[in-house]
């Protein structure tokens, strides 16, 4: 059975997603919706990391239930820098690049959840399936948000 590997991989990618979301948030402090919504969504990924660590134990894994994150100081510095640059130059392109990146990471994670759900179903692991069914939609919502925000932002950035 390779479910443990799948859990471990997902734990890694959800962890990464937390970092992507929070560092994106810090970088776009002057873009208020991006700043707040990415933070709210990061909470989902943090919960997913904890869920995976918990269920991982049943599969002999020892995973950290806490997502590894930027220390507060670093994040505060990034935020301050982003407010300064964000209000002057044209940070639109940077935002587009970050949204694309987030989209790809979240889409990858969401596919991994799908895989895990399939695997859990095959192995008749109910609890694991429950977790996958709870978490998968949330990673899809992150993908959709990134996609939607790209659609809203790109015309202004590209056409002006």
């Amino acid at each position: 059975m390779k479910l443990d590997m799948a859990i471990e991989e997902l734990h890694r990618s959800e962890n990464h997603l937390v970092t992507v979301l929070t560092s994106m948030s810090d970088k776009h402090k002057a873009d208020h919706e991006v700043f707040y919504v990415t933070r709210d969504m990061a909470k989902w990924s943090r919960e997913h990391v904890a869920d995976l660590a918990r269920i991982g134990r049943d599969f002999g894994l020892d995973l950290d239930p806490e997502a590894s994150e930027d220390p507060g100081l670093l994040s505060a510095m990034k935020q301050r820098a982003s407010v300064l640059t964000g209000r002057r130059s044209a940070p639109g392109l940077l935002l587009l690049a970050d949204l694309r990146h987030l989209y790809r990471e979240a889409a990858g994670t969401s596919v991994d959840w799908e895989l895990l759900a399939q695997g859990a179903q095959g192995a008749k692991e109910q609890e694991l399936l429950d977790i996958a069914e709870r978490c998968h939609p949330e990673s899809l919502r992150i993908t959709r948000w990134a996609n939607a925000h790209l659609k809203v932002t790109s015309p202004q950035v590209l056409a002006s």
Binding site: H32, A90, K151, P155, V157, S160
Partner: protein
């Protein structure tokens, strides 16, 4: 006939009535200078312009001047009654400081100029930018106070002519969540309730809606029910002890930023106890199973902890809601301007839907708005929507709109929803929007985080046009100021909260060279050379009635169908509720009867959004979820507010309104009786919090947030502990400072303190949860704060003289039996 002080008694005398009976008429009037009705030369039909209730009135004219107003007895909305703002607010029309000539900025100063110079400058700059950058450089920010004809023309110019996606109204601060919540549940805007639901309801639930102050005449209707036989039960959700809270059977005062938690617990209880209409849910809704599942964990105990409301009270409220036979729910800014605004407002819809309480007398939802013509910005496409509730994601709707306008569909931007004002500001900050045309609103006082707003508006690279009736704080920052006519000086129509359309006829000439907004907009369109695809002028009308006829065609077959109306039909009698067409020539009182909605994928205005991220739902997804167009039950998880109190900023600051003022006081601050009733800003704090700090009534306090500082005198009121309240009306035009606080000086505008954050679904800014600190600048020494005693700011300590208006505020009241018509 009696005369009473309508400042001291904002709701006037009681005319009690019972369930199912007709609300008695009471004709309120006020004439200035000791005039009587015999002195009046003529009466001109109109409706109120200082709130959203749509109270019908006649304007008294003598010697070509407005001299007073009288409520229209025949009208379905107010049955003759008027509120204090209606009775006294019109006097602002005569203010000596009205704008009477166009102004243009020369060497840094605004100087008088002529119309040609001003309009050529405006159109010239717009054309230059179109050439240089394209439509993405140009944006429009309008209001909730123009007329339908003006919004429709503005939407046509912006979306159809210039082709910009950047169009919004200050209704973003006001009614955006009402529209968003209706779009989530019913996939389309359109008010499910009617004011007559008050006549029938056995339970009226007001969520964050201080109706007593925001729609005084509607509250009068409730008071008359409460004074009559078999009165309804009232549920009030509000962190302040408002007049509504004082009249309530149950008053829930949750911690700011926890509305969704509270709503979820109420729904949890209703479902757990089986107080649901299973048949209705099965026949007419989608999403119940998911709602049931998601609400499982939200017990009253959990909510009690998060919201700081006793669990027993939550149960009691749920029981009343769950056992109601005719439930009317109303919602306003306490929900709309709060954290998770749309999710909270949608939850209110959910309760009525799962209880099957729609489309029947007494069973309604009123997702309210604050401004008189806010509904029209939504319908006519001037506030971040497309005209007549067309769906920007539906290509056929765009093609149809292009047909009506005789332009190429590509010309209408529909690659994403129209750009809301908060995002527009972001583009101005980045420098990609370089032209902003503001009509009849005052963002330099009403938007959050004013220091940032002023910085953005004052940029050299931004060309700012302000069209208004006074030199507002915003106008003082403009490059060109265009003097406009106002209510009473121009003709047009507007629609109130419950879909009632009124005509407002021109009573007198505008002052000086001021012109109707419609005329200015049409002039702008012509100077821009805007054409349809056959080379004819894009704007095909030259007056209000022509614009109305144009709008009727645009609305044909859509939910807000006006085709059965005409100016003639609107004159003489009562206002008419849309849809009004061949099928319903007298209008439609109740929509959504028998579970018939406008939610079909091909017809609906919106496929909805994610309740947390705000990402639009795609067409395919919506079709799969709701193929036959039922009501959509949407659940939302509770998430905490983004700015929480801390040791440094221990309070939660809410901003809001008072009964006697409207918006940034441009009019009400110039009406003597209204201004005297609430002349200066104040801050409210709970008695316990004040006592802990040794503060007393009238102390001068400084309120600080990370964004700024405001000075205000303390009113110890019935607000919940831990919260502060500041009225947001007060700006700088009537201070020495003019447009903003002098350097290093504390501000007066509450929005110096608010944060830039908005609900991702409705994009409505959050004004109810800013972390704040308070310190005392000086002791009261016998002075009291200027807060009214008749309202939510009523004192709970000390001896404060009651708010009265004296002789100047005496207005007539005539309770009739209906034979006066």
């Amino acid at each position: 006939m009696g005369r009473i002080d309508r400042i001291a008694e904002p709701w006037g005398s009681r005319t009690p009535y019972g369930p199912g009976e007709t609300w008695p008429t009471r004709v309120d009037s006020y004439l200035a200078d000791g005039l009587t009705e015999d002195d009046v030369d003529r009466w001109v039909q109109s409706a109120t312009i200082l709130h959203s209730n749509g109270d019908a009135l006649d304007i008294a004219v003598k010697d070509e001047r407005i001299v007073g107003v009288r409520g229209r007895e025949v009208d379905r909305v107010n049955h003759g009654r008027l509120g204090p703002k209606d009775l006294f607010g019109w006097q602002a029309n005569h203010s000596p400081d009205r704008l009477t000539k166009p102004l243009i900025r020369r060497k840094g100063k605004l100087v008088e100029t002529d119309w040609d110079t001003a309009m050529d400058a405006v159109a010239g700059r717009a054309k230059e930018l179109l050439e240089e950058q394209g439509p993405s450089a140009i944006s429009f920010y309008t209001t909730g106070q123009l007329f339908l004809e003006e919004y429709y023309t503005l939407g046509l110019i912006a979306h159809g002519g210039i082709g910009t996606n950047h169009v919004d109204g200050n209704t973003r601060l006001c009614t955006a969540t009402a529209a968003a919540a209706l779009k989530e549940t019913f996939a389309c805007d359109g008010q499910p309730g009617s004011y007559t639901d008050i006549d029938h309801a056995d339970v009226i639930a007001l969520y964050g809606h201080n109706m007593a102050e925001t729609q005084t005449v509607l509250w009068t209707r409730v008071l008359d029910r409460l004074a009559g036989p078999n009165p309804p039960k009232v549920i009030c959700v509000d962190p302040r002890e408002t007049p509504v809270a004082r009249a309530a059977t149950v008053h829930l005062a949750p911690r700011p930023g926890t509305n969704v938690m509270l709503m979820n617990a109420l729904i949890h209880e209703i479902i757990e106890n089986g107080w649901i209409d299973r048949e209705y849910v099965e026949a007419h809704t989608v999403g119940f199973a998911e709602l049931e599942k998601q609400m499982k964990g939200y017990t009253p105990e959990l909510a009690a902890e998060v919201c700081d409301v006793p669990a027993e009270q939550i149960r009691e409220a749920a029981r009343i809601l769950g056992q109601a036979e005719r439930l009317l729910s109303t919602v306003l800014q306490g929900f709309y301007q709060a954290h998770q605004a749309s999710a909270a407002a949608v939850s209110v819809n959910n309760i009525n839907v799962i209880r099957g309480m729609l489309g029947k007398p007494g069973c309604g939802i009123l997702q309210m708005n604050g401004q008189p013509t806010a509904e029209n910005t939504r319908e006519a496409g001037a506030d971040g929507d497309l005209p007549a509730f067309r769906n920007w994601e539906n290509d056929e709707h765009i093609a149809d709109l292009a047909r009506v306008w005789n332009i190429d569909p590509m010309q209408i931007p529909h690659y994403s929803p129209p750009t809301h004002i908060m995002q527009q500001l972001r583009y101005m900050e980045e420098g990609s929007i370089r032209f902003l045309y503001v009509t009849a609103t005052n963002p330099a006082v009403s938007l959050p985080e004013l220091r940032r707003i002023r910085e953005i508006l004052a940029q050299d690279r931004l060309f700012l046009v302000v069209q208004d009736i006074f030199l507002s704080e915003t106008a003082q920052l403009a490059d060109v100021v265009l003097p406009a006519a106002t209510w009473g000086e121009k003709t047009g129509t507007f629609t109130n909260v419950d879909r009632t359309v009124h005509i407002s006829d021109k009573a007198v000439e505008p002052p000086g060279e001021a012109k109707a907004d419609l005329d200015i907009l049409i002039d702008f369109a012509h100077r821009m050379g805007l054409e349809d695809k056959d080379g004819a002028p894009l704007v095909k009308w030259s007056d209000a009635e022509g614009a109305f006829e144009g709008w009727k065609e645009c609305s044909r077959g859509r939910p807000c169908d006006y085709t059965g109306m005409s100016y003639d039909k609107l004159r003489g009698g009562s206002g008419i509720q849309w849809p009004c067409n061949d099928e319903h020539p007298d209008g439609t009182e109740r929509i959504y009867e028998d579970g018939r909605f406008w939610a079909h994928p091909d017809y609906c205005e919106s496929y909805g959004r994610d309740m947390i991220t705000g990402a639009p739902v795609e067409e395919t997804e919506y079709k799969a979820m709701n193929p036959t167009g039922r009501a959509v039950l949407k659940a939302a998880e509770y998430i905490g507010p983004h700015e929480l109190p801390s040791q440094q900023y221990p309070f939660q600051l809410m901003t809001g309104r008072t009964l006697y003022h409207f918006h940034t006081r441009t009019k009400t601050g110039r009406a003597p009786q209204l201004n005297a009733a609430a002349p200066e800003v104040w801050v409210e704090m709970a008695a316990g919090d004040a006592a802990d700090r040794g503060f007393t009534e009238g102390d001068l306090l400084r309120i600080t947030t990370p964004r700024g500082r405001v000075e205000a005198r303390l009113r110890v009121s019935g607000i919940r502990p831990g919260a502060l309240f500041l009225p947001f009306h007060y700006g700088y035009w009537d201070t020495e400072d003019g447009s903003q606080p002098k350097k290093k000086r504390d501000g007066r505008a509450a929005n110096e303190l608010t944060l830039t954050d908005w609900d991702p679904v409705s994009k409505q800014p959050i004004f109810k949860t800013a972390a704040a600190a308070v310190e005392r600048i000086s002791k009261a020494k016998g002075q009291v704060s200027a807060a009214p005693t008749t309202t939510g700011s009523a004192p709970v300590t000390g001896s404060v003289p009651p708010t009265t208006g004296g002789d100047a505020a005496l207005a007539e009241e005539l309770v009739t039996t209906g034979d006066r018509r």
